[in-house]
C-alpha cells in the first residue's frame, strides 16, 4: 500500500488531520492523528524548523538531526507508525516520520492492591515508558536489558521484556520469548490476560506468574534473576517464573525485623490452611465425627445446630455462596452503592441468618474466618485461586468425611507440587532461591 492510499484510508476518521504548510519558499504536508500526537512536539520539531528553513534541503537536514525522526522509503507503509502517534512529514519527493506521541496516563499511581505500611507508596503508572523509567531508576545496573515488543494483532500494545542479563536463566528467557512470539490474540489489554495467553494449558488454576503493581517487588525479582514484562495501559507488571512462596510474601516482610516478618509469614500459612480446609473440616466433623472434639465442645456445636433442619454441607454451601457473592458484589459495584451491599450483607450473614435457623452460629464464625483468612494472601490472583480450593474439599468431606479431607489436602499438595513453571518447580519445601534482600535464604545441598 502506498503512502497516498494509506492517507486516503485514514482520512475517514475525523481526528486524522492533513495540513499543508507553506513558508513562502517551499511546501510540506503534515499528517497525524490529533488525538494521539502532542501538538507541542509537532510545533517544536516540525513546524518551527520549517518556518526558519531557507529551502527544502536545509529542512531535511534539520529533520535528520531531530530526535526519533526517520526517513521513509517510497514503498514503506506508514500506517503502524501513524497509529502509534507519529507524524508523517511529506515533501514533493520524500517522507519522514517523526515521533510525537502524547504520553497517556504517565503519573505513578498510589499502590492500591498491594499495600505496605512502610515501603514505597507509589505504584507503577499506566504508561509503559514511565514504568520502565521507574524500574531503571531503582535498578541502575548496565546488565538490565529491556526488549520492546508489540503484542496483539490489532492493538499492537507496547510491551517491554525486562531482565537482568547476568542473572536471568537463559533457558527461561528463551521460553519467555517463544511464548510472546506465539501470542495470537487481537487485543492485549492487561497483564492477567497476557499470562493466560502465554501459558499453554487452558485449564489453569494457580497463577504461575506474579502480577504486581509495586516497583520494589519488580526490582527485587529482577535481582533474583526473573523476567519482568511491562505492558502499556496497565499499572501492573508481570513477573515470571514465579514460585508459590512469591504469592504469600508481602514486600513488608523485607522491611520488618526478622522475627516479626517470620511470625507474619507463619501466620499467613496458618490462614491459608484455614481458608482452604475449615469449611470441609466443619462438614466432616459435624456430619461424620463429632466425637473428635471433647464432649463439651461437641455438645455446644450440636446445640448451635439444633435449629438447622438440613445437613451440614447444605449449610456450608449456603453460607459460602453468600460470602462469595458479597465479595464479588463489593468488588464490582460503584463505591457509592458498595457500602449498601456490605451493610445488607453484613446483616444477613451476621445475625439474621442464624436467628432464622438457616445456619448455625458456629457456621457464621467459620464463614468469616474463611473470608478474613483469604484476604491475608498478599497477591490478589493467588487469593482468587485459593477461594476455589475449598469447594473440592467440601465435596470430598461430604462424601467421605475426614478421610476425604485429608486425602483432598494430600491431592492438593501433590497438584501444586506437580505444577511446572518455565520448566522449573513451582512448589517445594526448600526451593533454594538466592538471597538478595536478606529475606530468602539459599539452601544448598
Amino acid at each position: 500500500m502506498s503512502i497516498d492510499d494509506t492517507i486516503e484510508r485514514l482520512k475517514q476518521s475525523s481526528d486524522f488531520q492533513c495540513e499543508s504548510l507553506d513558508n513562502g519558499r517551499f511546501k510540506i504536508e503534515l499528517c497525524y492523528f490529533t488525538t494521539l500526537c502532542d501538538k507541542a512536539v509537532i510545533k517544536k520539531e516540525a513546524a518551527h524548523p520549517f518556518f526558519h528553513a531557507e529551502d527544502a534541503s536545509e529542512y531535511r537536514e534539520r529533520l535528520s538531526a531531530a530526535l526519533s525522526c526517520l526517513k521513509l522509503d517510497d514503498d514503506a507503509d506508514p500506517m503502524p507508525d501513524l497509529m502509534r502517534g507519529y507524524v508523517l512529514i511529506r515533501f514533493d519527493d520524500a517522507s519522514y516520520s517523526l515521533e510525537a506521541a502524547m504520553a497517556g496516563n504517565d503519573k505513578p499511581l498510589h499502590a492500591t492492591s498491594e499495600m505496605t505500611i512502610q515501603g514505597p507508596q507509589t505504584a507503577f503508572s499506566e504508561d509503559v515508558d514511565t514504568n520502565l523509567l521507574l524500574t531503571r531508576k531503582r535498578y541502575p545496573y548496565p546488565a538490565l536489558v529491556a526488549e520492546k515488543r508489540n503484542l496483539g494483532k490489532i492493538s499492537q500494545t507496547k510491551a517491554y521484556l525486562v531482565y537482568d542479563k547476568e542473572k536471568c536463566d537463559p533457558d527461561v528467557l528463551r521460553r519467555a520469548k517463544g511464548m510472546l512470539e506465539r501470542i495470537q490474540a487481537d487485543t492485549v489489554m492487561a497483564v492477567g490476560q497476557l499470562e493466560a495467553l502465554m501459558t499453554e494449558t487452558k485449564l489453569r488454576w494457580f497463577p504461575t506468574m506474579v502480577i504486581t503493581e509495586r516497583p520494589d517487588r519488580v526490582i527485587f525479582n529482577l535481582a533474583l534473576g526473573k523476567i519482568v514484562i511491562l505492558l502499556d495501559g496497565t499499572p501492573y507488571a508481570l513477573v515470571a517464573p514465579a514460585v508459590f512462596y512469591d504469592f504469600i510474601s508481602a514486600m513488608d516482610d523485607m522491611y520488618q525485623s526478622f522475627i516479626v516478618s517470620r511470625s507474619l509469614i507463619i501466620m499467613r500459612y496458618i490462614a491459608l490452611l484455614i481458608t482452604i480446609a475449615l469449611p470441609a473440616l466443619y462438614v466432616a466433623v459435624v456430619s461424620y465425627n463429632p466425637e473428635i472434639f471433647r464432649m463439651q465442645f461437641a455438645l455446644s456445636v450440636a446445640g448451635s445446630r439444633a435449629a438447622v433442619p438440613y445437613p451440614s454441607f447444605i449449610e456450608v454451601i449456603i453460607m459460602l455462596f453468600l460470602i462469595e457473592a458479597l465479595i464479588e458484589a463489593s468488588l464490582r459495584l460503584p463505591s457509592y452503592i458498595g457500602s449498601t451491599a456490605t451493610t445488607v450483607g453484613g446483616l444477613i450473614l451476621g445475625q439474621a441468618a442464624q436467628m432464622a435457623g438457616l445456619v448455625s452460629s458456629i457456621m457464621i464464625i467459620i464463614t468469616s474466618a474463611v473470608a478474613i483468612s483469604n484476604f491475608v494472601v498478599p497477591i490478589n490472583t493467588m487469593s482468587f485461586a485459593l477461594r476455589i480450593a475449598k469447594y473440592p474439599l467440601v465435596l470430598l468431606a461430604s462424601m467421605f468425611g475426614l478421610a476425604g479431607v485429608v486425602s483432598g489436602m494430600f491431592a492438593l499438595a501433590l497438584y501444586v507440587t506437580n505444577l511446572e513453571n518455565f520448566g522449573r518447580p513451582y512448589f517445594r519445601l526448600f526451593l533454594g532461591e538466592p538471597s538478595v534482600a536478606g529475606y530468602k535464604e539459599s539452601e544448598s545441598d
Partner: protein, 369 residues
C-alpha cells in the same frame, strides 16, 4: 540428596511398623519375634547399605537403564514386570488395609468399598504425576507430620499406664530361632532404600551421608513398634487386637488438646502417610511396567500419554476387586506369603545389583588401565 534418601527410608519404616509387621511379630512374640527383630536390624541394614553402595556405581540411572546395559530383553522384561507387580502389590496391601481401618475407626457409617474407591481414585491420579513432584511431596508430608509422630511417641512412652515390667518379661523370649516368615516381616521396614532403584534417575549422584543412622533409626522405630503396644496393652493382651497400633494410640489422650483422643491425630497422619506410600509404590510400579512395553506403544501426543493412566487404572481396579473379595483373615495370610516372596526377591535383587555394580566397576577399571 541425603535427606531424600532418609525420607524414603522413613516413610517405609513408619508405614510398615504400623500395619502388618507388628501384628505378625506380636502374634509370634513368644516364638522368636524378638530375635527376628534383632536379626532384621542387621540384615535390613546390611541390605540397605550394600544396595546403596552398589547403586552409587550408576549415577543418574534407574533400574531399567541399568538392566538394559547388562542383559538381553528376554531376561530384562520378566524381571521388570515382576518387580513392577511387586511394587504395585506393596501399595495395594496398604490401601486395602487402610480403607478397612478408616472404616472401622474413623467413619463407621461409610462403607469400606466406598472409602476404597476414594483412596484408589486419589492414588490412581496421584501415582500418574511426575516422579519429581512425588519426591517433593514426600518431603512435605514427612516434614510436616514427623513432629506429630514424635509427639505421639513421646506421649506413648510417658503415659501413666505404660508397664515396663511387661516389656522386661519379653526379654525372656529373646533367644528363640525365628521362622523365615517372621524374619521377612521384620526386615520389611528397612526396604525404603529400594525405591531408589528407580528414583536414582532424578539424582545426579547417590551419595548418602550419615549411613550409620539406618540401623540406629531402624532399630529404634522397629522396637518402638513392638515395645509400646506390649507396654500399654500387656504381654498377653496385645495378642487380642487386630490393628494393634490404632488400639494403642487410642489409649492416649491429650488432656488440654483441641482434639482429645490421640487416635484421631494418629489416623490423620496415617491417612497422609498411606496415600503417600501408595503413590510412591504405584508410581514406581507403573514406570517399571511401562518399561516392558514396546517403544511404538509409547507414542507421546502433545506431551501427554494415556499409558500410565491405563496401567494405574488396572492396578486400582485390581486393588478394588481384591479389597472387596478379601477379608481380614485371608488378607493376613496372603500378606505373609507376599512378605516371604518379597524378602527372597529382595535378597536376589540386591545380589543382582552387586553383580552389575561389580561388572561396571571392572569395566571402568579396564577402560582406565
Amino acid at each position: 540428596m541425603t535427606r531424600y534418601y532418609f525420607y524414603f527410608f522413613l516413610i517405609c519404616m513408619l508405614i510398615n511398623t504400623i500395619f502388618f509387621v507388628p501384628r505378625i511379630l506380636l502374634s509370634q512374640r513368644f516364638e522368636g519375634g524378638i530375635m527376628a527383630m534383632i536379626l532384621a536390624v542387621l540384615i535390613g541394614s546390611a541390605l540397605a547399605l550394600t544396595f546403596t553402595k552398589a547403586l552409587s556405581q550408576f549415577p543418574g540411572q534407574g533400574l531399567p537403564e541399568i538392566l538394559t546395559a547388562f542383559m538381553p530383553s528376554a531376561i530384562r522384561i520378566p524381571i521388570l514386570l515382576f518387580l513392577g507387580i511387586m511394587w504395585g502389590v506393596a501399595g495395594s496391601i496398604i490401601i486395602i488395609t487402610f480403607s478397612v481401618i478408616t472404616n472401622r475407626f474413623l467413619s463407621p457409617e461409610t462403607s469400606p468399598e466406598f472409602l476404597l474407591i476414594c483412596f484408589c481414585g486419589i492414588c490412581c491420579w496421584a501415582s500418574t504425576r511426575k516422579s519429581s513432584a512425588i519426591i517433593s511431596v514426600t518431603e512435605i508430608v514427612i516434614l510436616l507430620n514427623l513432629p506429630i509422630v514424635a509427639f505421639i511417641m513421646y506421649k506413648a512412652y510417658t503415659q501413666k499406664y505404660f508397664e515396663w515390667d511387661a516389656v522386661k518379661v519379653m526379654s525372656d523370649y529373646t533367644f528363640k530361632m525365628p521362622s523365615w516368615t517372621l524374619l521377612s516381616a521384620a526386615t520389611y521396614p528397612f526396604t525404603g532404600y529400594i525405591n531408589f532403584s528407580l528414583y536414582n534417575r532424578y539424582f545426579k549422584k547417590l551419595k548418602v551421608a550419615h549411613q550409620w543412622l539406618i540401623p540406629i533409626v531402624g532399630a529404634a522405630v522397629l522396637f518402638t513398634s513392638i515395645i509400646v503396644p506390649i507396654g500399654v496393652l500387656g504381654v498377653t493382651g496385645v495378642g487380642d487386637y487386630l490393628y494393634t497400633w490404632i488400639s494403642t494410640a487410642d489409649t492416649l489422650r491429650m488432656q488440654y488438646g483441641f482434639i482429645e483422643r490421640v487416635v484421631f491425630l494418629f489416623l490423620f497422619i496415617y491417612i497422609g502417610f498411606s496415600l503417600l506410600f501408595v503413590t510412591i509404590t504405584w508410581n514406581i510400579g507403573i514406570q517399571l511396567i511401562l518399561e516392558c512395553l514396546p517403544k511404538r506403544l509409547k507414542k507421546v501426543k502433545r506431551g501427554r500419554t494415556a499409558l500410565p493412566w491405563i496401567v494405574a487404572f488396572i492396578i486400582a481396579a485390581v486393588t478394588y476387586w481384591a479389597g472387596i473379595v478379601s477379608n481380614d483373615k485371608g488378607m493376613i495370610g496372603s500378606v505373609k506369603v507376599w512378605l516371604s516372596i518379597r524378602f527372597d526377591s529382595e535378597i536376589l535383587f540386591v545380589l543382582l545389583m552387586v553383580w552389575m555394580a561389580w561388572k561396571r566397576h571392572r569395566e571402568r577399571r579396564s577402560e582406565h588401565g
